[in-house]
Symmetry: C2
Subunit: 283 residues, 2 copies
């Protein structure tokens, strides 16, 4: 069955979902995006994603395509039209359509949404954990803005695949920044969670924010600071968070088993808390 895709006000069969080749999202990666998870037909953390979208737009002086309320209505309509029970909604906003020029044009932004149906709760990664490799972080300097400049993360994912791993952790100046499309964490032997502090170097994950809040509520100590791959290899546990992975246990880094090589208690517990708590506020 063909999905229904949203393109600038129209709900179209996916084979008709097209955009001008003069769209700056296509020509210059002049675009930002968000991915919102859906469970039981309801969106998790929609407000967080919508707020971050507006921040991304502001950071690159791009107009908002509509209000957050209108955005929510379009998301809901997409769930309905696609009979989406579990999976995700992808949203992309670009600066709009104009003849190619490095100078920003004064045009209306483009907006595209589509859905992907997939199991996000019962994933293989949640069950067995994932293997990661470390690679140099060659991305641009404003990773706090969620742009579609995703070739480096895509190359990283391919490098991981070629090495028989599931994902890559990116390393800059000796320290882990984040995963290719997720925030990275380790759990020290004393149970303290360590994850990199927010800056232009990493994305301010919506799931990261929620998980750190739930960790604090569960009396788990958290240190927000950079860590090295060496420290990670000696950790009790490691995991990632993202909007679609939620909390994804990491059981191997660069061929070295983390802890006993099985999904750790902290990751499992935080994943359970995240899913159950997020479902309470899902809309």
């Amino acid at each position: 069955m063909s999905r229904t895709v949203y393109v600038n006000g129209d709900y179209l069969p996916e084979e008709d979902a097209k955009i001008s080749v003069f769209d700056r999202g296509f020509l210059m990666a002049d675009a930002v995006y968000e991915v919102t998870s859906v469970i039981d037909g309801k969106m998790l953390d929609f407000a967080g994603h919508a707020t971050r979208l507006m921040r991304s737009l502001g950071e690159i002086d791009m107009k908002a395509p509509c209000s957050i309320d209108e955005l929510e209505a379009i998301h809901r309509e997409m769930i309905k039209r696609n009979d989406l029970t579990e999976g995700l909604i992808y949203l992309q906003v670009t600066r709009g359509i104009a003849d190619r020029d490095f100078v920003y044009p004064d045009v209306e932004p483009s907006m595209v949404l589509f859905t992907q149906a997939k199991s996000v709760v019962n994933s293989l990664i949640a069950k067995h954990g994932m293997k990661v490799i470390s690679i140099p972080d060659i991305r641009w300097g404003r990773r706090d803005i969620k742009t579609v400049q995703l070739l480096a993360p895509s190359m990283g994912k391919m490098a991981a695949k070629a090495a028989g791993a599931d994902d890559a952790w990116l390393v800059e100046d000796g320290f882990v920044t984040e995963g290719t499309s997720n925030n990275a964490y380790i759990v020290k032997q004393d149970g303290t969670i360590v994850t990199r502090d927010l800056s232009h170097d990493i994305l301010s994950g919506i799931t990261r924010e929620a998980v750190l809040r739930f960790a604090a509520e569960a009396q788990i100590k958290v240190e927000e600071r950079p860590f090295t791959i060496e420290e990670a290899k000696q950790a009790k546990e490691a995991f990632v968070t993202s909007a679609t992975t939620f909390v994804g246990p990491v059981v191997e880094i660069d061929g070295v088993m983390i802890g006993d090589g099985k999904v750790g208690d902290t990751a499992r517990r935080l994943r359970e808390i995240y899913i159950s708590e997020s479902l309470k506020t899902a809309i």
Copy 2:
């Protein structure tokens, strides 16, 4: 009059030139490009651009959409259908159309071409020179691959505009890498040209290669090494090269006049040589 745009085998009126929103050029900046100048209906340095395109594709494991001969035929057809006498041909190749995933899909690449008519020989910049500001280089680490990840250069151009300048020179670790869409040069007081050596840090400019060859033939000394903004401010001349600017004199950097603030002899001479020599081999 509407331009004719090439999209995956079809020659279309520009208003019908559309691409699937699932094209990875749109979703992930998974695309590379080339820009070839046209004078008197003929392409300058086409072979250089086609060769660099193939290299870019190879660096990111992307399939070539066609042979260089076929690429040339499509370029020629675009000149003909658009009655292009002077201006440029833009070419973009993407990994193709597939549901969104960081893992590369095994699909056929997409190819898009369009033209822009403009005066490239008699430009205001050639006559009066340009003013540049220096800003931090926040681009990714593989600038030798000509990808469409152009948000940082676009932001740089806007910063220059806001400062009343024409362009920005990008600075990393204290040294100039290049301009937002051109290679950067200074001319020392003794007449020696200095430009950054090739690496992953800068694009291997097709015009750069030709200009350095013409400089050598004209007995001008060339040093390929990094230089600082401070050294540039004390230079006799400064200039940039690109496929559409050819040789563009720089007369001011961060508000400091370079030389006597007028278009320098070396830049003027190299521009004349570049245009006349390139026209001899234009096709």
